[in-house]
């Protein structure tokens, strides 16, 4: 079974530029998550999708970050314009998304390492 795919793996941009990341979850997984992981910290949830709908985007800086999952499969996360503090690893994860199932485990992709200069 293929895992969560992400691209690109690395990206270097200058501040005020825009950047986009792509994620393809595990086949059949209805729930998709985007996380930001700053060096030395644990992953922080940015946004959660259930199929093509947003479940939680309370921690997404909406003035510069946007995300979509139009067909309920793959997803893109965009930053526009980027700031120096956006330098981090952006992780995508997916889970089955069966609703009230008690144990829902997330599976992560390799991440995209972003450096903003």
């Amino acid at each position: 079974e293929a895992g969560v795919a992400q691209s690109p793996r690395y990206k270097i941009i200058e501040k005020r530029q825009s950047v986009a990341f792509w994620c393809n979850p595990i086949s059949g997984h209805a729930t998709l998550y985007w996380y930001q992981q700053i060096l030395g910290q644990g992953p922080k949830l940015l946004i959660q999708f259930q199929n093509n709908g947003v479940v939680d985007d309370s921690q997404l800086p909406k003035d510069r970050f946007s995300a979509e999952r139009l067909k309920g499969v793959d997803s893109t996360l965009k930053i526009q314009p980027a700031k120096l503090e956006d330098s981090a690893v952006y992780l995508c994860a997916s889970s089955l998304g069966e609703g009230m199932r008690l144990q829902e485990t997330q599976y992560f992709g390799p991440g995209t390492r972003l450096l903003v200069l």
């Binding site: 922080k44 479940v55 609703g99 485990t105 997330q106 599976y107 992560f108 390799p110």
Partner: protein
């Protein structure tokens, strides 16, 4: 406000001995706990989990213990192997609705297993 804490940034253990990684949480609504292992330049890999209705879960060399009254969980690795050297993240989850599941991660503990 750190809801999930891993107070030891690093831990060194001799090969063959037991590694014990600790995690504390503050939110009593968390009902599912997970441990992830992360190698450099890779995403976190799921290791083992435990539901709040249990106090222990084993999978091979890995055992997770949950003490709900103390809001504390620990991961035991026995015996430790050099390949276990990685950063270990503790995560806690609470339901936020029918589909919502709020995952909160600790800052991680770097385990070094010395040969």
């Amino acid at each position: 406000d750190q809801q999930v804490k891993q107070n030891s940034p690093s831990l060194s253990v001799q090969e063959g001995r037991i590694s014990i990684l600790n995690c504390d949480y503050t939110n009593s609504m968390f009902d599912y706990f997970l441990w992830y292992k992360k190698y450099p330049a890779e995403g976190p890999t799921f290791l083992i989990s435990i539901s709040s209705i249990k106090d222990k879960n084993e999978d091979g060399r890995f055992t997770v213990f949950l003490n709900k009254s103390a809001k504390h969980l620990s991961l035991h690795i026995v015996p430790s192997q050099p390949g276990d050297s990685a950063v270990y993240f503790c995560a806690a989850s609470a339901r936020t609705g029918y589909y919502g599941q709020n995952f909160v991660f600790g800052p991680g503990t770097r385990l070094s297993v010395l040969p």
